[in-house]
Amino acid sequence: MEKSNFWKTKAGALTIGFIIAMISFVITLVGIKMNSEMVQNLGLVLVIIAVLISPVKVFIIDRKNK
């Protein structure tokens, strides 16, 4: 049986998304601590990227690879 690479599966993509979401969370907290709106906004952008990974994989990358 062919062994698929975990990181190329949906669960793998979601795990990457989760890791990015955690990084974004830390960045936002650092931004709050530094009182820097710029850093907080960077955290917001990253969390949006994190949650968008699944729809991008399912509806763009996977469809392109079919």
């Binding site: 979601l14 989760f18 979401a21 936002t28 709106e37 906004n41 969390v47 994190a50 729809p55």
Partner: protein, 537 residues
């Protein structure tokens, strides 16, 4: 606050929810794909129509991720505990031993598909009871479609206070109920009343499926006894300790089933040969070779017994609870303000997590002990422990990212005033007739998100704000919200798919959904009507 409540503002607040519903129901998107789109719409609405600065949205997102972490820890550890039993084939032992102990086929189906499923819901939840019970029921000879239907029905009533009260805690958090307050216990009371009724109904329906009136007549005494212990026990305990209010009655119900099967009425072999839900040509157990011969029923249940003991000791002994509960972690959040004057207060300890008294800690310890014990006994093969961890992460991630998206969405909606506008708009138009709709909102939330907890996070704040605006009973409305959410767990597409996958009938979700809608919609209408008559007239 000076937000204009007009159709455009209301429409923008409702848009993220509409987007979620349309993507999931019309286009069959999963929650993991639909939630980010709903979140984007929420952010757009917040920053344009609701005059929220970007850093406010960022802070609300951080609050959302923080709240999600608690939920994700419970999901992951609950699934890890399930995987420990799965790797050791403990569930096959439970099924086989119960079959030997209970000669009455109807009681056996109730024991596995209703009581055992409730027990699993009391601890794990997140679809695990459906995934476990459906194949076990098929092993007894139940047709696959009905194996999924019975499992879905059996787990539903335990969704609010099950999983050590996770969905209830989420409701209390999102609705701003202070733990231990009068409102808190009133809302818990109404939730438990509605769920008791649903518990009785599901037991009777399972009997009806098995053999219409004849089976109902035979099974009714058992259904009533088990419901009084399960749903009735939950009602009483909800006024004392909401964390254990489902779990303890579910454990007692499991013991009572064992006693019932010794009673004259149930201690002899009995079945209805022409039962429409039984496949009489295929009752042989296929997985016999996988059953660990030297594992007893006690050993199969050991992880759950450990979980019960640990939870009881830590939660019921005040000195231990106080000592362990004092270790808390919270985050610091600044004050934020929208252009319309909505202020979110600063906090140095936002939504603190008591690490050692949190449900996920008990689940994690029980899972680790189970893995070590089963491995030592040789019931888990080489690589099984690694596989249990891998599978638990793979099963957590799909619901996990959906939870993160939905919680952030709900925090932004709340922090920018969208939830208030949504509630005010509905209250202005419907008045007290909204009470008829309150449980449907809960059902809709679970239908969309596959989680009573997510439904409560998404709509808890909305429901309490609407109830306060209409000057009707907020505890009653919150009880109906979460009861509707629990009923919705029987009709949620994601949970149905979980059942059809383990029952090996993937693709027949429509058949299951049709049966479930015919049961859940009338039940939700009854709750809405009751609520309207009691609080709205």
């Amino acid at each position: 606050m000076n937000i204009p409540v007009n159709f455009a503002m209301w429409g923008m607040a409702f848009l993220p929810i509409i987007v979620l519903i349309v993507l999931m129901i019309k286009f069959h998107w999963g929650a993991t794909e639909a939630a980010p789109v709903g979140l984007l719409v929420t952010i757009f609405s917040a920053m344009t129509f609701y005059k929220a600065p970007a850093h406010l949205v960022a802070v609300e997102s951080a609050k959302g991720v923080w709240s999600s972490l608690v939920i994700l820890l419970i999901i992951w550890t609950a699934i890890l505990l399930y995987q420990a039993g799965e790797e050791a084939n403990a569930f096959l032992v439970i099924k086989n031993e119960l079959s030997k102990l209970i000669p009455n086929e109807l009681l056996l189906i109730l024991a596995l598909g209703w009581v055992f499923v409730s027990f699993l819901q009391g601890i794990t939840g997140f679809g695990v009871p459906v995934a476990v019970a459906a194949p076990l029921l098929i092993g007894l000879g139940v047709k696959p479609i009905y194996a999924v239907v019975i499992s879905l029905l059996g787990q539903a009533w335990g969704n609010t206070f099950g999983t050590l009260g996770a969905a209830w805690d989420a409701l209390a958090d999102s609705a701003g109920l202070n733990k231990g307050s009068e409102e808190y216990f009133k809302a818990a009371f109404w939730a438990a009343v509605f769920l008791l009724a649903w518990d009785v109904i599901t037991g009777i329906i399972i009997c009806w499926f098995y053999g219409k009136g004849k089976a109902v007549k035979r099974g009714l005494p058992a259904v009533l006894v088990i419901s009084i212990i399960g749903g009735g026990g939950e009602l009483i305990l909800s006024q004392i300790n909401t964390t254990l209010s489902n779990f303890i009655p579910a454990v007692i119900a499991l013991v009572v089933v064992m006693l019932l099967c010794r009673m004259k009425m149930y201690n002899t072999e009995w079945k209805i040969d022409e039962s429409p839900i039984m496949d009489r040509d295929k009752t042989e157990i296929q997985e016999e070779s996988n059953v660990p011969e030297d594992m007893s029923l006690f050993q199969a249940f050991l992880p759950y017994l450990l979980l019960s003991v640990m939870t009881l000791v830590v939660l019921a002994v005040p000195s231990i609870n106080h000592a362990l509960g004092s270790i808390q972690i919270g985050i610091t959040v600044p004050e934020t303000r929208t252009g319309y004057g909505i202020v979110n207060a600063a906090s140095n300890n936002y939504s603190p997590i008591a690490i050692f008294t949190q449900a996920s800690m008990f689940l994690f310890l029980a899972a680790i002990i189970a893995l070590v014990y089963y491995k030592k006994k040789g019931w888990i093969k080489d690589g099984g422990v690694k596989s249990a961890f891998g599978n638990s992460i793979a099963m957590t991630m799909p619901s996990g990212m959906a939870v993160i998206g939905l919680v952030i969405m709900s925090k932004i909606m709340g922090g920018t005033g969208q939830t208030v506008v949504l509630s005010q708009g509905i209250a202005n138009v419907l008045g007290s007739k909204y009470l008829l709709l309150a449980p449907f909102v809960g059902l809709l939330g679970t239908f969309m998100t596959a989680s009573n907890m997510s439904s409560n996070i998404l709509f808890g704040g909305f429901q309490v704000t609407t109830a306060n605006l209409l000057n009707v009973s907020a505890p009653g409305v919150l009880g109906a919200q979460t009861a509707g959410g629990a009923i919705g767990a029987a009709v949620s597409p994601s949970k149905i798919i979980l059942g059809t996958t383990t029952a090996n009938i993937l693709g027949r979700e429509g058949e299951v959904l049709r049966i479930m809608l015919a049961i859940t919609i009338p039940a939700t209408i009854l709750i809405g009507a009751f609520l309207f008559i009691v609080f709205g007239l």
